[in-house]
């Protein structure tokens, strides 16, 4: 197994640990809503980006994955949703304006930085037309839409006794 696959595996394990540590037991349903809804956004968005030839993922976790689907499975269906869960659950709701913008920039910036490093050092991501600030902006927009949906949804979510 090459370095790239070890990186994906490491990231996946790290995200699972984050989920275990950072999602409280009584917020499980909230986490599900955020997790599933983000895929609604990333799935078509990722497909469009690949279809247009903007971006490419030469190496994936499963060696033959690119024969069936050339968007990044681990990123769109796991890593990003996990990031979104942490983003929305720990969002500083009391802060307005600049404070929440800073929170957005911090999350999206961290993500963009990670992707840019992977782009230049590994074969996990290849940018063609894509630029790092496209990632920054699209991640911020996705997080915003996702957070809106989550807040609308959670108005009717209640606490249930967990055994």
């Amino acid at each position: 197994m090459n370095l790239e696959r070890w990186i994906i595996l490491g990231v996946l394990i790290l995200s699972i640990m984050c989920l275990k540590l950072l999602v409280p037991r009584d917020k499980v349903r909230e986490a599900w809503v955020i997790f599933l809804f983000l895929q609604v956004i990333t799935w078509p968005a990722g497909l469009i980006a690949v279809e247009m030839g903007w971006i490419e993922y030469p190496i994936q976790l499963y060696p033959k994955a690119n024969l069936y689907n050339r968007t990044s499975f681990s990123f769109e269906f796991f890593l990003f949703p996990v990031v979104a869960i942490i983003f929305s659950l720990y969002f500083p709701r009391k802060k307005k304006g600049f404070g929440s913008l800073l929170y957005y920039v911090f999350f999206a910036g961290f993500f963009t930085f990670l992707e840019a490093v992977l782009e230049s050092k590994t074969k996990l991501v290849e940018y063609h037309e894509w630029k790092w600030y496209w990632t920054l902006v699209t991640v911020m927009i996705s997080l915003y839409i996702n957070d809106k949906f989550y807040r609308w949804f959670s108005k009717r979510l209640i606490l249930v006794d967990l055994k």
Partner: protein, 140 residues
């Protein structure tokens, strides 16, 4: 899509949403596995270069059907009625995909047939039902 907007009562909107997005994820994985094992193929698809999977069938059509499955789920009926209900829905979905395979190039069966489809759809619907009824406990 139109059916969803028109017929979902406002008070079940959130339930419909969670069903819709859960089934998207499940349908996607199910489709992926089918492809990896070379059971089916989708000769004509929306994103020709990006993926070998069909997009709208599993992004919109399947979840829409599942929303109605949950919406009209018979809660206080006997085992036989419930089983019939499952059978009816799975047969509907499977026949729909069978007709697509027969009359269009959207779907192509390689090592797959109507009967396999029926069984997997019943299992999928059962998984969806278990999850949604668990989730519903937290919804008002």
């Amino acid at each position: 899509m139109y059916l969803l907007l028109r017929y979902i009562p406002t008070e079940s909107k959130r339930l419909a949403w969670i069903t819709f997005i859960l089934v998207q994820a499940i349908a996607w994985i199910h489709e992926y596995i089918q492809l990896v094992f070379g059971l089916v193929e989708f000769p004509y698809r929306e994103f020709n270069k990006a993926t070998n999977m069909s997009f709208s069938l599993h992004y919109i059509v399947y979840p829409t059907i599942a929303v109605f499955f949950i919406l009209f789920y018979p809660k206080e009926k006997g085992t036989r009625r419930t089983f019939l209900y499952y059978l009816l829905f799975s047969m509907g979905i499977t026949t729909y995909s069978y007709l697509l395979e027969k009359f269009s190039s959207l779907y192509h069966y390689i090592h797959w047939n109507w009967f396999f489809g029926l069984i997997t759809n019943m299992i999928l619907l059962y998984v969806v039902k278990i999850y949604i009824f668990w989730f519903k406990k937290g919804l008002v």
